[in-house]
Subunit: 254 residues, 2 copies
Amino acid sequence: MVAASDDDSPDDGHTRSDKGSQPNVSTGMLSAVMEDYIKTIYAIESDSDGRVSTSALADHLEVTAPTVSSMLKKLEERGLVDREEYKGVTLTEEGELVALEIIRHHRLLEAFLTEQLDYDWADIHDEADRLEHHVSEELTDRIAEALGNPPVDPHGDPIPDADLSFPKESETIRLADADEGGRVTVRRIRHQGDAELRYLADAGVRPEVELTVVDVAPFGMVTVETPAGEQSLPEEIAQLIEVAPAAAADGVEV
Amino acid sequence: MVAASDDDSPDDGHTRSDKGSQPNVSTGMLSAVMEDYIKTIYAIESDSDGRVSTSALADHLEVTAPTVSSMLKKLEERGLVDREEYKGVTLTEEGELVALEIIRHHRLLEAFLTEQLDYDWADIHDEADRLEHHVSEELTDRIAEALGNPPVDPHGDPIPDADLSFPKESETIRLADADEGGRVTVRRIRHQGDAELRYLADAGVRPEVELTVVDVAPFGMVTVETPAGEQSLPEEIAQLIEVAPAAAADGVEV
DNA sequence: ACCCTCAATTAGCCTTGTCTAATTCTCAAT
DNA sequence: ATTGAGAATTAGACAAGGCTAATTGAGGGT
Ligand SMILES: [Mn+2]
Ligand SMILES: [Mn+2]
Ligand SMILES: [Mn+2]
Ligand SMILES: [Mn+2]
């Protein structure tokens, strides 16, 4: 029997804009699953171009093509994607707003976990990926406030503001394209999961760190000098790292 | 097109002990819905006695009796409840551990929202009620640590520790049973939702506050002197408030 | 123009959690 | 001992998300 209290009124069936808080953007009440589709469409759309294919989504979401196919029809009905049979989808204006909102949740959660709860930089993606669908706008905004409305998350990914527009991003190049001998600051680590992040965390490469580009070998292997020592990074990893020229002493423009 | 990154691997189907973190208590992987059933069974069990009926659960969870009936069979198969046909259920040892874990999540989240994110005391239940099913043990423990392992949540409800045992509770009586003229400290506010809490928040009655019992009227109406002035509380509200004699100056035992 | 391959969609089935309608128990009151 | 009311369970459906197998469409190569 022990102690108790706190009762439940059933929740779930929840997610986008539910009862809690403000009359959110979007076609009220998307499931966590739909949100993941939208978020994934946005991600694929933004680093390939043109329409997003059924099979690309199936790969990213780890479901089968027929499953994607039927979900895309539902998303079309909801007005979140423009669909052209056999040709794939693109997000509508509204779909893009939903995506941005989820991304805002995700990145603020990541920032919060590292800054306030001492989480490891490489260990936050999964937690955020789950919670992003369950935090209210209210909570998201309070987190943003507690962190001072940061422009980027711990991986250097830009965080949309409350009105869902991105902060201006600084110019960067891929580490793989950096000049030998140059001194650069890591600005952002592109990533799909926690694997690449853990690799780089171990290598001592993370946003804000300054690197000296020691060598760029023929097949893209990049050797850098980190504060913790010299590291060689395979091309495919070096491609994920965005860097900018190291701040020349006192923030002088380049 | 804007900016982007952060991909998804499908999650969901998540909840209890999933992949993230430790091999949690319980029959791995309960849905949020099952967790709510377990939590509700625990709540009913602890302030009535004996078995929990199908209809009581249906009321609390706001679903129909047949729905409860079929869910109880599933929970029985999972070994979380002992079920006796037509007689209701009780939690098994294992079921109780699941309940305690959810309660720990819930109350730590409530404490965290008020203490670290400046949430209003009366406005946290719903947010916690949703998130409790989605925070990992890891996150829960970090929250507990950040708060210094508090023994109670903002409503005075005791928080199970990491090993799921309750801290010793202080002796209390219901405000409705307090002596006229006595000086008491509010220890705990029993509540089912946010409604009672908002009422009392407005009345200036919350844990830690000292009250003087001005008058206990025949039908249970209690009038108290709060730091903010005199308040009359209906019996049904006074029943929810647990108080202890106000600390006599320097923590002298009573 | 024709074909072949691969992507996409359709068809049909499954599980979870819910509902309504119908049926079956239980138990207290006669 | 009966019986009737109310509680619980069974039966049958449905929506959401998934899956496999079968079918259809799109396009490049010849
Ligand atoms: Mn996600
Ligand atoms: Mn990130
Ligand atoms: Mn809940
Ligand atoms: Mn509480």
